[in-house]
Assembly symmetry: C2
Homo-oligomer: 355 residues x 2
């Protein structure tokens, strides 16, 4: 069967399919159901406090005994708390004034979204079957500790070089994240060097250069995408936007509407929300950042400028400044409960690959 792969064997799931962690969007109801259905459910934990981490794991384990994945961001500390580019101020001041919002003051502050020592300690106690990282990896001490507790380590790569680096650091599988993917690009560096490699091109080129199992991500929305990714040489797939149509995700109404009406042309990569490139619905807010030649506060400091405006759109239920992350194949979502959606996916791939 197509679904017996080195990856499904490694993580001990029936299907070699990962539900993408979607920090701030995903729910334990979704991840738990997905894991219970034989896929790898994931929780985006980057923005969680330590008590929330324990709660999340507890809730997941009430739903399922199956393996799940906790996802974290591995990023360096922002270094520009005190400097703000005057062009950024000029760009955002009219929007702040229009909504009578106080303009953020330096020094900027942000929640610590990196993989701190206290989060590591919690994960070592929780012992998830899988932990995955985005933006690169934490230090060797953390990786060794996780391995010693039996956690499998996954990380995203957006280029062949990043994949080769991850293999050298000893991860267990690589998520090849193509240009089409919604949410944050996993690219290690934030500069102008991102070539934006599409999934169709990225997967076989990574597969050829590493020995590890490769999970294809980006633009995979239904059974056709899963089957295609497997034939590209992937050992599994990761899907995010496809699950945004599931009622378990519990999206705010404006976001749910955006997903129901999604078009392939809706989204753009923007640094305007967090400081790092993320694929989100293009709107009034992201259009102000089309020319990104000016320097933005580093991830995640930029949220201090975007969040007050995001809140305006949330309150009004509109899209103007909304932070609606999704990928280029989001239109393929079915709007079905997760279990039913997954059953349909598996049937589609069975038909395509077991002829």
């Amino acid at each position: 069967m197509w679904y017996h792969t080195v990856f499904s064997e490694l993580v001990n799931t029936k299907y070699p399919m990962v539900q993408a962690p979607m920090a701030g969007i995903g729910t334990t109801a979704l991840a738990g159901t997905v894991s219970e259905c034989g896929l790898l459910g994931s929780m985006g934990c980057a923005e969680m406090t330590v008590p929330q981490l324990y709660d999340t794991a507890l809730t997941l384990r009430e739903i399922t005994d199956a393996p799940f994945n906790l996802n974290f961001f591995a990023h360096s500390e922002p270094d520009n708390y005190h400097q703000v580019d005057s062009v950024l101020i000029e760009t955002l001041t009219p929007l702040y004034e229009k909504h009578s919002l106080p303009f953020p003051k330096v020094p900027l502050s942000a929640e610590n979204t990196s993989f701190t020592e206290e989060k590591l300690k919690a994960v070592l106690e929780i012992k998830p079957k899988v932990i995955s990282f985005h933006f690169g990896l934490p230090d060797t001490h953390a990786l060794d500790a996780l391995r010693n507790e039996g956690c499998l380590i996954l990380c995203s790569a957006t280029t062949v070089d990043e994949a080769v680096y991850l293999e050298k650091r000893g991860v267990d599988a690589i998520i090849a994240q193509g240009w089409e993917a919604g949410g944050h690009r996993g690219s290690f560096k934030v500069d102008n060097s991102d070539a934006g490699i599409g999934t169709m091109a990225l997967v076989p080129q990574i597969v050829d250069k590493v020995r590890l199992p490769v999970i294809a991500a980006g633009g995979i929305g239904d059974g056709r995408g899963i089957a295609a990714a497997m034939l590209l040489g992937a050992s599994g797939v990761q899907m995010g936007s496809a699950f945004l149509g599931c009622p378990e995700t519990a999206l705010p109404e404006a976001y749910a509407t955006a997903i129901r009406q999604a078009l392939e042309t809706d989204t753009r990569l923007t640094r305007g929300f967090s400081g790092r490139p993320a694929r989100a619905q293009q709107n009034l807010y992201t259009r102000s950042f089309l020319d990104q030649s000016f320097k933005l506060p580093n991830f995640p400091l930029m949220y201090e400028y975007s969040e007050p405006l995001i809140d305006v759109s949330t309150a009004n239920g509109d899209d103007k400044y909304a932070y609606h992350l999704y990928g280029q194949a989001a239109s393929l979502n079915r709007g079905l409960p997760a279990a039913q959606f997954i059953e349909g996916l598996i049937n589609e791939v069975n038909k395509l690959l077991n002829r």
Copy 2:
């Protein structure tokens, strides 16, 4: 067999595979061999004179009796012969001065690369099995005349809307050109509206919205890509960069070296060469256009600024200003003669799809 599709039946080839037309790069030796091997060989004819068109068809018919495709650009006349943005002049003057080149003078001039009445007349006499268009379609009078002579009409689409428009205009098949593809984007409009849809996301979304056969293009470099595209719902594939490794292509040495050493991260979309977005190797020249907020001369007038510098690199055999078009999966090329390369491709897909 996977290769019996509505598309291979329509164009009467053994395999549902198109060798991409590569204006200025492809050769009759390549296209003729490809057609003789049972695929659809193509010639990029946009820059040819009428006598060259007749010569090309004659040479192809000496090599093969099989169907071939003649490709043309359908674009409106440039409207800015007389205006040149001062930022463009500032950007390029240092490069022109460095190489003691005379700076191009307004009014700009350009060869007529659009599908003129005299080119139409020649094609109606040549009667190729297939004619394909890029950047949109010519007028209804031309399409009707081509249909009356029995020519099948293909055209590229980079979005669902473009594909739906092409279907309404009565084309016979749609080339779904993904973000990964080398060379010119087929997008109809040149503005900031291109969302850059990757092949993995684009193909199924177009397949769901049109009844016509869809040919997947972009990032398809070997049997894995072909098999994947077929499972996405495509009725065929188009491959360009993969054929740039074939000796029949007869690339200049620096270009051939670039293809041999290609990395997935090499290329960027740039308007700096022709005025329209094209995926080319990033170099000193393309980097000067990273900020493309200033207005460039319309396609193909911009060539008047790029060609003198391209010629410098051609003479020096270097990459600095070179016009090396290729896609994100060019590294998968095998450097084999076309017939041998094609035989290998077919074997790979047979193994992947006929299990």
